[in-house]
Structures are given as structure tokens and as C-alpha cells.
Symmetry: D3
Subunit: 162 residues, 6 copies
Amino acid sequence: MAFEHRVEHVDESMLIIQANLDDMNPEHTSYITDLLFEQGANDVYWIPIIMKKGRPGVMLNVLIEESAAERMEGIIFRETTTLGLRYVRATCHRLGREFYSVDTPWGPIHVKAGFHGGELVQFAPEFKECEQAAKSYGIPLKQVYDDVRSRFLQSRNGKREQ
Amino acid sequence: MAFEHRVEHVDESMLIIQANLDDMNPEHTSYITDLLFEQGANDVYWIPIIMKKGRPGVMLNVLIEESAAERMEGIIFRETTTLGLRYVRATCHRLGREFYSVDTPWGPIHVKAGFHGGELVQFAPEFKECEQAAKSYGIPLKQVYDDVRSRFLQSRNGKREQ
Amino acid sequence: MAFEHRVEHVDESMLIIQANLDDMNPEHTSYITDLLFEQGANDVYWIPIIMKKGRPGVMLNVLIEESAAERMEGIIFRETTTLGLRYVRATCHRLGREFYSVDTPWGPIHVKAGFHGGELVQFAPEFKECEQAAKSYGIPLKQVYDDVRSRFLQSRNGKREQ
Amino acid sequence: MAFEHRVEHVDESMLIIQANLDDMNPEHTSYITDLLFEQGANDVYWIPIIMKKGRPGVMLNVLIEESAAERMEGIIFRETTTLGLRYVRATCHRLGREFYSVDTPWGPIHVKAGFHGGELVQFAPEFKECEQAAKSYGIPLKQVYDDVRSRFLQSRNGKREQ
Amino acid sequence: MAFEHRVEHVDESMLIIQANLDDMNPEHTSYITDLLFEQGANDVYWIPIIMKKGRPGVMLNVLIEESAAERMEGIIFRETTTLGLRYVRATCHRLGREFYSVDTPWGPIHVKAGFHGGELVQFAPEFKECEQAAKSYGIPLKQVYDDVRSRFLQSRNGKREQ
Amino acid sequence: MAFEHRVEHVDESMLIIQANLDDMNPEHTSYITDLLFEQGANDVYWIPIIMKKGRPGVMLNVLIEESAAERMEGIIFRETTTLGLRYVRATCHRLGREFYSVDTPWGPIHVKAGFHGGELVQFAPEFKECEQAAKSYGIPLKQVYDDVRSRFLQSRNGKREQ
């Protein structure tokens, strides 16, 4: 029932770009996060930090492929208030991924599964589809998640038992 | 050797004023903290929080006596970016306090002691005096602290043993 | 140029509902925040906390009018994983608010202004309109903000000088 | 299959005791947490805060019944470094609770369920039992959780369908 | 009107020194921050972390030039409580910087501007000068900032329009 | 009186493995921390971060020797919910360490001391032994710490003076 596939792999030419921000309006963070993802960032996250004079700042972190560095730096300089940024080399290890479709009372919902050395180690219902089901049917989001997870497990176990 | 004294007491008419800030330049926090202390706040502290749209904001907390509320609200509205604030009633229990002078190789340094039900439960070297000694004598700050604490303990134990 | 108005006021019958969560999927927080706002919460925010066994949990905070308590509790019990919640009484002081329209190169953008004792103490460009302008015109969001703020200030000062 | 029971109820005489700590060895927090729970605290949690001079402190929070206040204050003054504490009145709303036993390949594991207005809104496998099963059988903890949750859901749905 | 200048550049031989601290008095952090800046650190910041046994520790981060490593390590070992530290290589990209003087009702205030590829992307009023003006004239700090920013923008736009 | 010894050294082949988690039950963190330490991790710590859609996630950090990477990755993929991880190269500088035994009213308690360039720069009472003494004798943990530290200092100073 899988319909999309990505092989487990290691990427050795990644960069983590970091910028410490102690004078930026926090309202802008969600906009900047979205923009960086749209422009190809592999991940974007913010770490609360304490800076000079005890200021409660945030550290922007952007995980990117080395080849995207210049474009990403341009965005960070234009959109944040930083006067400098730093980058650190990183190696990424990404699991093989497959998507499965699970039948539920609220229609089919996808589950993203992760494989390490060919063995399934992760599975997670797709957030947006669960959210949509919860809203449309007026049921708690956590109930949708639990149900999808339970059905996925039963289908896996069913197969193993045959 | 004590020279200042305050009795243990409970104050039932305290307020905690809180304001959630998601669009303020964090550079301003230290200035606002100092200003509120100068104007009579009993305590000022900031809590990192996550606000609407996942913004990394801060919650300003100001502990004050009820009678200072109006003046403090004026400062908060003028100096922060908030459009509203809230307050919660609180009761404060403060230990009896005495200051002692401890002789050290770097001159006398004060220790603030706290008493609960007449019994010494806290003692702490005065930060500014330790900092001054560390700078003047070029020794680690933590060494000054440790030494003052050790000497205070010995002087207490010495008295008990006599 | 103002077109909407709300008077400064104090509301004494507010509640802060709090629930500590150490076993909830963090993916659900944004959904819960949106749902609580839709259902009439005055504010929703999350505080990172450290719980039993050093678990990195979050505390959900929902500011509501007393009359909404039962409905909000129902949502919190259904959508989060908590087995209990607590509420604390609070008094809210909200500034008078007016909206102004500022002409910019990217069309009119509104500014929300806050008044304390009749005096303007806050003004902030509307986030969504700035975001829209930044996206449509391909300019940095912070540039839109700065420009709107500057134009608003000039128009205020212009009036005062006349 | 339930064997323990507690009714949903509201308790209006709770206190949240708070103490801001900027000079305490963080090593002591876990010891203090355990001690307060042993002495009858309903909940204990720590909030990272930023205090005077930008110090990264922690705020101790202890939720207790009003009648335990004096005993708890004694512990806090003896075990932490605070010179004062404050308390805020709170009302607690606790769900009805029942424990169920679920049969798993690793033996029976309990599930704690929460009821709001008679309706099941929460269920969670007991952490310690899952941890024990994971260690004894050498399987991932998350797999034990998922399996217990799935089995509990199936048993509930099975009953409803009959 | 610029009077100081630094060219945009990339520095490839930077180190981030990190030390996790779970048994240090948080009072010492501001002292250590100041000391490290005085001794030539390029940046110093603290990250709240959760360590062994769920302790709320802090991670000290010091950004330095490789050549300063030994001296900085000495300070960190003497002044913090750590038994070890680690460092990670980093590359820093710093904007070109110029300082401008802006005439305000409270005297001239400097603005630090940042240039990326020759284009102005950042500008920020100098904190200390704004703070001084706010204190001397008894006006809100944010009003000084806003005014300086607005005047700087107008002067830039004025030039462009000529 | 020292009985165990480790020389100051620098280890250049360390890795920091990092995984950002926004959909994991925080209850599992303490279990995962313990497991990673048991399997040979040099350090394990968690950083509160803000992820996509403003989710309050955590970043797992595991400091390991390069040779342990594969085994540690296996544990992280099995026990957390991550679909990928990254690692960054780090160099560790560890102080020389010696353990001393200090006689106290509650029996002997060990002190771990750290040496930089042959000079004592750190000393810390062993947490577990202090905890045990505090529990057995019903005295505050901080009192045990203070006493051990003071006795250790006196014994050092005594030797120097002879």
C-alpha cells in the first residue's frame, strides 16, 4: 500500500546557519520560518537564549545544503536584524521513508513511516490530514491520531501473522 | 556581628502584574527591569513563552504591593508594547533577615542570612562585594564565594561549640 | 482617520486556566491554540516547564472570562492529555484601542493604537497586512513595519505641530 | 476490568507556592522535587525564568492543599536558597479516574483513564510498567506504549460494537 | 555622515566553546559574561538546557577566534564549575558596518548600519545612547528608538529622492 | 588522600548527535537519557526549541566518541520519533580528575576535583553521597554540601600552611 519512497542515506555536506537575535520583533519569526522553508531550507528552528546584559533573545537555526548557503544568507540578512551569522558543518542521516494509506471512519489518512536498515522504526499520521478530519467531523485531534496509529499497527501485525 | 535586621512576616496584599509581549525588542528588557526596581517593584522577572502563531514571546512579571499598582501600570504601558495587562493576588512570606560581616583575605564581606521561626535557614555572600573582591584581587569569583561561605560556617560552628 | 474604538477598561472577573502537560504530542499545540481562540479565549500561551522526573513539559495557559469556564474546560479535557486543570482569578486592564489607516507605497495599512488615560502609549502595524504587503511586493517584512511606523509617527507629529 | 476509582471533583482551596531562585545549585532540584512529592505536594514543577541582572534562574512551583501550607513552606525554606516565597489561590478541577488492566505480550499493563461528565476523555499507559516491560523484553519503550494504547482502544471499541 | 567603517567579510577560523553547567550558582553568569567579553570573546550566550536527572542547567557558549582558545579555556575553567568543555569549528560572516549620527530632540544619537553586498540591510540605534536619552529626558525608551529609526529612514529616503 | 586519577586531556574525535523532536511524548525523555548513558554516551542533554508552526519541541543532544556513532544512532532511531539526525564534529577538553574523601559528621563523603595545568580549579561533593547523607540524617541537602565544601577547603588550606 506504499506509494512514495525515499532511501535511507547520509548527506555529508550540510550546514547549520545560526544567528543570535536580541533586537528583533518576535512577531516576525513565523514569517521568516515559512519563508526559509519555501526557499529550500531542510529545517528551521529557534532556540531561546540569554544574551549580553541578560537579554532574552532567540537563536535562529537553519539547516541547509551547502550549495544553498549564499541564497539563504541573503534572506537571513534581509529579513532578520542580525549583523552577522555563523555556520557549522553537519552530516545528516535520514531514514528511508514510505507513505501508507490507512482507512478510517473519516476517510483515508496517510502515515509516514521511517526505516533504519530496512526495519520500520517510525510511523506518524500526517498532521494536516488528521487536523482536517478533526475539524470536519468535530472530533478531538488526539482521537484521530490514536485511531490512525492503532489501525496502522493492526494492519502491520495482521500481515506478519499471515 | 549583625547590624541590620528585618523580622519574618507575611504580607497578604501583594499583586503579580503580568504582561505577555510578542512584539517588543528584547534589548529593552534590562532597561525596563531596572526602571521597575527603581520605582519600588519587589521583584521583576521574565518568563519565555510561546504565543499566538508560535511566536517566542516573553511574559513580564512584576511583584508589587497593591498600593503601587497604578504607578507600576503606568510604567508598563509606557515602556513595553503591551495593549493590556493582568494582575493576580498573592501573599508573600518573607524570612527574617540579618546581615553579618565576615573577615576575609580581601577585606570584610557581608553575608545575608535568612531566619524561619528563629532558626537560620539561609546565608548568602553579598554578590556585589564578592564581585568587587574578585576583580580587585584577580581571583575567581567562585573562590571568593566559597571562602566566605566556609568562614561564615566556621564562625557559626565555633560559637555553637563554645 | 480612526474607524474602530474600544474604551480603556478593567475587567475583574477573568480566569487563567492552567494545565501541565508532560505526555502530549507537541504537534497538537498549534491546533489547540487556534481552537481555543476560535471558542472565545482572550489569550492562549504555552510555558516550557520541567516536570516530575525532569520531563520537559509545557504548561497551557488560557485567559478567559469567568462565564466561559465550563465550555473551555470541556475543550481542554477533550483536546489535551491532562487529567486535571487549575484556575486562578485575575483582573485585566485593557487599553483603549483605535485603528488608524496609514498610506504606504504598498497601499493602506492599519495601525492599532493603545491609549492609557487618553494618551497614546502604543502603536503597532497590523501583522497580517504587513505580511501581505511584504509577500505581494517582494520586500522584507521588517522594511514594511519600519516604513508604516515612521509614517504613522510623522502624521502624528504633523498634527501636533499644526 | 476497572479496579480503582476516583470521582470527578473540584477543589477550591488549593494554593500554588512559588519561589524564584537565582543562586541555587541546579543539582538540588530533583532531590527537592522528590521530597515535596513525598511530603504530599499535589504537583511540583520548575519554570526557567530570567531574573535581576539577566540571571537564568528557575521558579519553583508547588501545588498544595491549603492545610499543608505551613509544612511545605518549612521544607522550601530549609531545602532551597530562597529568602521569601509567595502563594496564589487556585481552584483545581480533577477528572474522574479509573485504572484498567490490558493484556499484552509482555504481561498485563495498566491504563489510567480520565472521565469528564462521565465520558472517557483521557487514557494513558502507566509509565513505570511500560518502562519495566521495555527493559525486561529489550524492546523500544514507544512500541510498548503504542501497543498498549492500541489494545485498549480495540477493547473499548469491541464493547461498543456488541 | 558615516564616521567609522568595517568591510563585510568571512572569517573561517572561529570556534564555539561550549560547557554544560548543572551545579553552578546562576548569580555568577553575568559576571562571567562580562569577563569573557572583556577578554576578547566575539559573543557570549547561555542556553537553558535539561541535563542528567532532569536538572535545569545552562550551556555556556563562547564564540572566539581560534587563536584565543587557550586563554578563554583558562577563564572558563577558573570561573565556572565545569570539568570539561568542547569546541566546534564555525565560519562567521559579518556584514559591513557603518555608524551614522542622527539629530534628535535629545541630541545626536548614533545608528549602526549593516551592509550586505553593498546594500543597506540593517540599521539599529545605539542602545546605550538611547538609554541615556530616555533617562535624561524622562521619556519612554521605545519612543526614543522609534524616533531615531524614523528620522534615519527619512534622511535615507530624502537622499534617494534628490 | 586521593585514590582515583585521570589526566587532563584533549579528545579530537568526538561527535554531537542532534535530533529535533516535535511529536514525541515528553514522558520518554528520562528513559532515553538513562539508556544512552548506559550505552556509553559521554553526555546527554535536551534543549527546548520552537519548531515548524511554532511547536514547542525539544532537541536531543548526545555527545559521543566517533566510534560509537552507529550504535547510538540505532538507539536514537528506535527510541525517539525522529526521521533523521545530524552530527557535528567536536573536540573535548577534559580536566584532570581526582577523588578525595572528606570526613563529615555523617561519615566520609567524596569530593571530585578538577585540575587544569596541574592546578586545582574545581571541586564538587558527590551528589549521590550527599543525597544519601541528607536522607539518612534528616538534614537539608544544601547543609551537607556546604559542610563538605567547607571541610575540603580547610583541609587544602591546612596543607598549604604547613
